[in-house]
Each structure stands twice: as structure tokens, then as C-alpha cells.
């Protein structure tokens, strides 16, 4: 799938958008977001590959030690984060919920902690003191996550598919929504509750 599929000018613009969003996600959470997003979007990005060679390297022992299950679990989270930054989705979410979501999912993690650090230890999040309680922060962040995924899904439904770039964008957005609620944000119960 290395044949050029997108007009070069459009590809450059899309590359810039995706690269900038990826850099912002890394800087606002942790460096591990980059490989996780890459793994989660590999197939969706296949039409962007213009002769980028494989590295042909032997993986280090540190790489082989990594838990594949843990990586899978975090991939969807990285894709969701990237889509939020890429499309500026949090700007459409209720300000309180968006602030809570930023606190838990877009605050840099301390060294040596996994990508899920703040949602696992809500009271330790850098901006936790700005909320009435840790539980409130957690609840509002869930609302923010839910709203953001709904917004992403809406964009998928309304997204045009006129050009190759549109198709690539849509694939990336769909990847960013898929499995996020149930597998990563664990919002199944919340989702059902919200529909009552």
C-alpha cells in the first residue's frame, strides 16, 4: 500500500495536522502516547505511507518485556486523545466536564508511571484541588469523555467522503471512537445510566 493516494499538497497539510496533534498529546500526557497511537492507527494510516522504509531492526530485550495486553488496552485511549486534540473536540464539551477531562487525561504524568496514571489515582492529578472533590473530578471527567466520544461519532456520521483525504480522516476518526467507551474509559455503566 505504498502507492501515493493523496495529492501531495493535501498530504503535507494532513501530515502536519496529525503530527502536531501527536506532539501535543505526548507533551500533555506522556511519551508513550506516540507508539500507542501509531499502533492503534497503523491500518488507518496506510494511505499516507510514501516510501517510508522499514527500519529492519532487532527489538531490544526491553521491548520484548512489554506486556502486549497492556499496550492493546492503552492504544484506544491514545487514539481518542489524539482525535480530541486533532479536531479540538473538547471545545464543544461542557466547560466543567472538559476541564475535568483535561485534568485526568491531558496532564503530564510523572516519570515511571503508566499512561493511565491520573484516572487511576484521581486525587493525585495535578489540578485535583480545583474541583469540589476527587469523586466530582472523576464523575465530571467521565461526562467529558462520554460527550467527547459522542462528538467524535457525530463527526464520523457527518464526515464527507469526497476525496482520498476525507477517507483517511474518516478512518482515523472511526479508529479513535472504536472500543473507547467499553475497553478504555470503562463507561458502559455510565452510558446505560445516561440513556435512562
Amino acid at each position: 500500500m505504498n502507492a501515493p493516494a493523496i495529492p501531495e499538497s493535501e498530504e503535507e497539510a494532513l501530515l502536519d495536522e496529525l503530527a502536531d496533534a501527536l506532539q501535543e498529546v505526548v507533551e500533555s500526557s506522556c511519551a508513550e502516547m506516540a507508539p500507542l497511537w501509531l499502533a492503534g492507527t497503523r491500518l488507518a494510516r496506510r494511505d499516507l505511507t510514501r516510501t517510508v522504509p522499514d527500519l529492519g531492526i532487532e527489538l531490544s530485550e526491553a521491548c520484548r518485556r512489554l506486556s502486549r495486553g497492556t499496550q492493546n488496552r492503552y492504544r484506544a485511549l491514545a487514539c481518542w486523545r489524539h482525535a480530541l486534540v486533532w479536531k479540538g473536540v473538547l471545545a464543544e464539551v461542557d466547560p466543567d466536564f472538559a476541564q475535568a477531562t483535561r485534568a485526568l487525561y491531558f496532564s503530564p504524568y510523572p516519570e515511571g508511571t503508566p499512561p493511565y496514571a491520573w484516572s487511576q489515582r484521581v486525587s493525585d492529578a495535578p489540578n485535583a484541588a480545583e474541583f469540589p472533590s476527587a469523586q466530582t473530578l472523576k464523575d465530571w471527567a467521565k461526562e467529558g469523555c462520554w460527550s467527547s466520544v459522542e462528538a467524535l461519532r457525530q463527526r464520523c456520521r457527518e464526515h464527507p467522503e469526497k476525496t482520498v483525504r476525507d477517507e483517511v480522516e474518516l478512518r482515523l476518526l472511526k479508529v479513535s471512537c472504536r472500543d473507547t467507551l467499553s475497553d478504555v474509559l470503562k463507561l458502559d455503566a455510565h452510558k446505560n445510566w445516561s440513556k435512562l
Binding site: Q23, P35, L38, A62, T70, T113
Partner: protein, 196 residues
Amino acid sequence: MTEETLRRWANVELSRDEARDVYRWMVRCTSPELPTLLTGLLRERREREADAALRQRGSTWPELVQRWAQLLADGAASWTEPGLMPMPASVDDEAPRPQVWLEERDGATRVRVDIEEDAEVTVFVTDDDGGAVRLPEASGRPREWVLPRMGARPTVWVAMGTASTPEPADVLEQLAQRTDDDDVAVVALRWTDRQT
């Protein structure tokens, strides 16, 4: 883009423009091995940075090692002899007890922990010279760590239920605040020249 460039990105701070080039290249590369490589490189960097941070706080280590020793005196941790050993019953009365042991293999001393794969385990090594090192996270079953060179009378500390705590002091704090319901336990191992 070469592996060397990627390693440089993972190991040093690049300028913003240089970093953007790397992110752009990442977006276009769909090699399935790249995310795993990146994860490994970033993890190695974090481990090096964590080790460097530990060394910089060397003056606080004698006190820290004393506090570890106090854990033993208080009964919050228990000594074991080298070899296969049961964990304290406080971990979980119902579940199979984790097993912890040291062994010499391929010229290195290793600590191995046989425990459920989703259990949180943190391993530190201290010595009587005031040195202390937190070993990187490991996965698989059993989990295995190669022990670094240490000063006089090194001691291995295996703490369960503490993986989210990045520093030895945090583990101590967590232990100090634990309740009977907590799933936190610490065991200390000391290896000697007699061990084979």
C-alpha cells in the same frame, strides 16, 4: 529517518522543528515494529532518568534505608532466606500465595516473582552504604529482574500492591497508611556469597 535518529529523539531533547520532523515521519511509517521499538526506547529513557534521579538524591538514602529497616522491625515487612519462599499471609488469604526467590543464572543475580499477571509489584534494591535503586517494571509470569551491582550487603525489597508508586518513599508512605483491607505487602531478601 534512521534508527539512530529515532534513538536520538527518544534519548535527547530535540528542537521543536526537529521533533516535528520526527512526528511527521512517525505518522507516515506503518511498520508494525515501530510502536514496539518506540515504546522500548522511551521506557529505557525513563528508566535511565529514574536511576539518575535516584542517584542525585543520594544524601537522603541512608535515612530511607533506615526506614526500610524499620519496616522489618515493625513487622510491616518480613525477612526471607534466599530460595523459594512464601509471601506473608496478609497478601490474600484466599488466593494462591505469590512466590519470590533469587537465583544466579548466566552470571547475574535475578529476583523472580511468580504472581498473577495483573498484580502490581515494585522491586527496590538497597545496600548498607545507603544506595537504593528502583528496578523497572516487568511483565510475564514469573516476572524477573536482573539485579544491579550494589554496595555492601544489598537487600532486595519486593512490594506488592504498589506499582503505581514511583519512589521508595511513596511505598513507605503507602505502607504507613495501609489498612487491614489493603492488598499491600513487602518482603525483604538478602543474598550472600554463599548463594548459588
